[in-house]
Symmetry: D2
Subunit: 337 residues, 4 copies
Amino acid sequence: MIIILKPNATKPQIEFLRDELSGRGLTIQDIQGETTCMLGLAGDTSMLSEDSLIRHEFVERVMKVSEPYKLAGRRFHPQDSSYEVAGRKIGGGAFTVMAGPCSVENEAQVLSIARDVKHSGADFFRGGAFKPRSSPYSFQGLGLDGLELLKIAREKTGLPIVTEIMSQEYLDVFRADVDIIQIGARNMQNFPLLMEVGKIGKPVLLKRGLSSTIDEMLMAADYILMGGDTPVILCERGIRTFETSTRNTLDLSAIPVIKKKSHLPVVVDPSHGTGYWDLVYPMALAATAAGADGLMIEVHNQPDKALCDGQQSITPFLFDRLMRNVRKLRTAVTEEA
Amino acid sequence: MIIILKPNATKPQIEFLRDELSGRGLTIQDIQGETTCMLGLAGDTSMLSEDSLIRHEFVERVMKVSEPYKLAGRRFHPQDSSYEVAGRKIGGGAFTVMAGPCSVENEAQVLSIARDVKHSGADFFRGGAFKPRSSPYSFQGLGLDGLELLKIAREKTGLPIVTEIMSQEYLDVFRADVDIIQIGARNMQNFPLLMEVGKIGKPVLLKRGLSSTIDEMLMAADYILMGGDTPVILCERGIRTFETSTRNTLDLSAIPVIKKKSHLPVVVDPSHGTGYWDLVYPMALAATAAGADGLMIEVHNQPDKALCDGQQSITPFLFDRLMRNVRKLRTAVTEEA
Amino acid sequence: MIIILKPNATKPQIEFLRDELSGRGLTIQDIQGETTCMLGLAGDTSMLSEDSLIRHEFVERVMKVSEPYKLAGRRFHPQDSSYEVAGRKIGGGAFTVMAGPCSVENEAQVLSIARDVKHSGADFFRGGAFKPRSSPYSFQGLGLDGLELLKIAREKTGLPIVTEIMSQEYLDVFRADVDIIQIGARNMQNFPLLMEVGKIGKPVLLKRGLSSTIDEMLMAADYILMGGDTPVILCERGIRTFETSTRNTLDLSAIPVIKKKSHLPVVVDPSHGTGYWDLVYPMALAATAAGADGLMIEVHNQPDKALCDGQQSITPFLFDRLMRNVRKLRTAVTEEA
Amino acid sequence: MIIILKPNATKPQIEFLRDELSGRGLTIQDIQGETTCMLGLAGDTSMLSEDSLIRHEFVERVMKVSEPYKLAGRRFHPQDSSYEVAGRKIGGGAFTVMAGPCSVENEAQVLSIARDVKHSGADFFRGGAFKPRSSPYSFQGLGLDGLELLKIAREKTGLPIVTEIMSQEYLDVFRADVDIIQIGARNMQNFPLLMEVGKIGKPVLLKRGLSSTIDEMLMAADYILMGGDTPVILCERGIRTFETSTRNTLDLSAIPVIKKKSHLPVVVDPSHGTGYWDLVYPMALAATAAGADGLMIEVHNQPDKALCDGQQSITPFLFDRLMRNVRKLRTAVTEEA
């Protein structure tokens, strides 16, 4: 951490600060900048509040040098993390596809889509039982009944299931019934939920918040990882920008940025990321080319009848074509990389 | 709702859609645009998923005409809402100031600040017991112990208290102990929490999410208002933009926009909205001039020692000066308005 | 165009507006919404100012149905545009790579890089002679001397050249010397420049503004296209968002969105789009997979000595590897698409 | 400037960099961070390209300590700047109001509005002759004929005039005819125009770009100030964000931020900043309360017939009321401040 002092900082003020910082066990070093004086701090500054430092009248700015996340970062965990979940490998060179409807509607729908996506090569079946909706007048999901339908789909197809938790009160149910617990974008900074989910040991898919930076996503992952040895998979799903042609702006550069900063696997959801079914195919290929560890795709057998997000769901037919091209692309690009 | 058809939509396709919509009890009207055909729908379209409509191959776009919120909107509730909370009026011409430290630290701190802000004319004492922090390595608040300190402050000063709830598990405690329950920006779309809070009848202060539109904030208010007769106060606290000179961009135009759309009172938090103590004073005056129904201000007796957000807290001395000028400004501007 | 009236609009007010609009040759149709009255307008509304319409006290909102661009749009030009520039095909299934240094520095540098990128398969040589820099204290480019160096590079390698124009005063020089004239992001809405460039008939590469929507980029293209039969190539180069891990957020979904809306070819600049050399390779592959018609890549033989944007330039060695993988990827993905 | 080295940087690499930097006359200091090594540079680093520094494989990050602007900054010019323009004081405690129509339409309109705003106390008459419009199909302004009408308005009312320049080709005309030359938001980074305008000595009103940070605005001001002794007035006019209820998001915190960083006066344009006439009044008061040095307001005598931006123009009647309340507010707030 570097503290930049104001030009008019007095000697006694600087001495006062120096004493305070030494008292906390930090080593302080004077730095002479172009036109400014600075103090460089060595030691454990993680408990030091930069908020308060900057409140000293004679301090102009405080610059953090270390990254703000630890467990999710590469510094102390340089090699890629990979997990085995329900017999499927995630991360570490594997490519994992999670596919299924936005929301679980009924048994026929769920089974039909689950069979289709399995046939095309999906590794996991996704579907929403609890649905976070901006409007209280929209369909809110089937809740626990939806979870039962997902379990039937798993039983009949063998595909493990991914579904979103919205509240701590269902943690026990999710622990018992779900293969990967999804934390949605709106809950990325629901810290009590993150901490509780991190304690039960089930794999977690953590979606990036609509206006969260990558560093904030990695700090959110740290909240989960502090609970123990939980496999965490990150998911880029679009951020909020001024552009209105798409529902969100899918930030594919997040993939290589996360790969630099973190050892966690990262998958991409082009369905929410774009909001339109005809953008899903090109953006899924793009995410694959950019080095994602997998995809999460909304597939619906009757998109024009879907109770939720029909406009961003692709048909099983298009999903099948997508899967074939994703495989070709990966073969072509990873051959030599 | 207006459905814009693609130029190549065929007669049978249009007939098919028309039948489907009539079957749901809607009246359909043909509209001939400049270069496009459209269908205008009259009747209750709130259960109609525009997502699915747009999924029809021959539909180009769907435009919503009605606003997406109901209970928070002015359409069926044209007059301003106002409440009486712990003997203080909120909304309806009153001006309400909530002030106190970012987080509750100890009894001496809490009492000192509470007395100071009361002396300067604050109506409510605010202070965080449960603190949502981006980093798991930052101070997380005193929790229930903090709540006890707030109660002591209330007992000693008579100021009612506002504090943030982060999880449903503490709903009973908050119902018993707190005068206004705050929903923080990160929980603005924590829908289970909104629904539960709306059922207990306590006044709620709902903060705008970092990347939430005003319409989304009003839909979030609807989630609370559906629970019954809960007083809801909205709070503008800055949105996330590209500008880095401030922590957030305080969107003061939200005040008159909310006043047009909604009957709910709106207060402004310039402390989080700007992130720097020396911007709090001018922006508090600006919010007052823009027509806010009140302010929420972080005040700390030793900002350079604060465990949280010291850089955005003002001293009791500056708060006192602020209160005096806010009063003068209101007298000057509302005289003739 | 659809005009939504306020609930309290009176009959005489509506009649008044109806007469005014009929007087402009428009056909007006009443539409009954769920809770609102609307007027639908058919005819040429392009000269109608929605700004003024909404100023009527009894008008609540005006919704445009037609897209705001014409010449760049697919409505009247459904097939893809393609051009032949200096013997190279652009658009229409071709894949065009423009590569070279951010700024032209000296003859040795220019020749070395031009030869390298030609060897690896680049179609055009790019390099900045006039450099728009946020800071007046940064290197501003060699100007006309830089243009001369580009011409030497073209003569020695045969690669046609792309370079940015910043001011109308050099239009004659650019017309004479340059193969593709680049309009930079900061000038995307420099309307006098767009109109003048559109009159000289040279191909134009139009970069998306940092905070421009896709619709605004297409309107900017219309400014150029109004001048005559100018080949226009669009370039996605990142937009400004809240994320700070990258210089800009490369919006790859712009590729399929532009392909839906417009017939113009679109290339992607991952160098400016990300700002970091190690993100260029994955994002270039991703852009290719998403369906871009080409790439613009900054290549420098000594990135750590570059006078400009060294941190986002890749070496000729990495460029070579990129080109090989781009070709493989295209073969794999387009085979069956 | 501080250079943060990667953990695996070798001694010879560090020595190499140290030599290179010493060779440029800089003093280098080792800094030991928590977990990282850094180099602190003292001396003139303004010519040092951080882009290239970061390109060294063993460099992790480069942090600038000095602000990127000079002439516009307070460091070497601590006291507020103020100017006398056509007998009116701008800055230094004065409050300057510029009012008039978005675009000049005809003599009757111009004279009527000019007289009205003068009567209400405006200091300058503003009106657009050259209009930058996103769409080429919108009214583009009367050009030189519009300038003539502005001159007539000045002659008849005595109000000096402010109008926007869009292209260098009209610099001579503007120098001769205009009192304050406006650089619009879209041209804030049109560097050749900034440099030329800075050379002619006329006062310049520089509007903030839609997606420009405050630091970038101050660097743009430096481009003008490098030309000589030109009075520069900054103008906040809203930035582009995700919020769609307003045309832009008016960033009023820019006022106190600019006051901290710069000695230049700053005025606010709530008309473009919000895009809706009924938001202009509250936001103009708010800007005044936040400490702006003045306002720029669009006033139209027949807003529902305006050729441009009618929806954001207020009537002379409302403008008059606004002026009275602005004066009251200033009296109330500045009395004691």
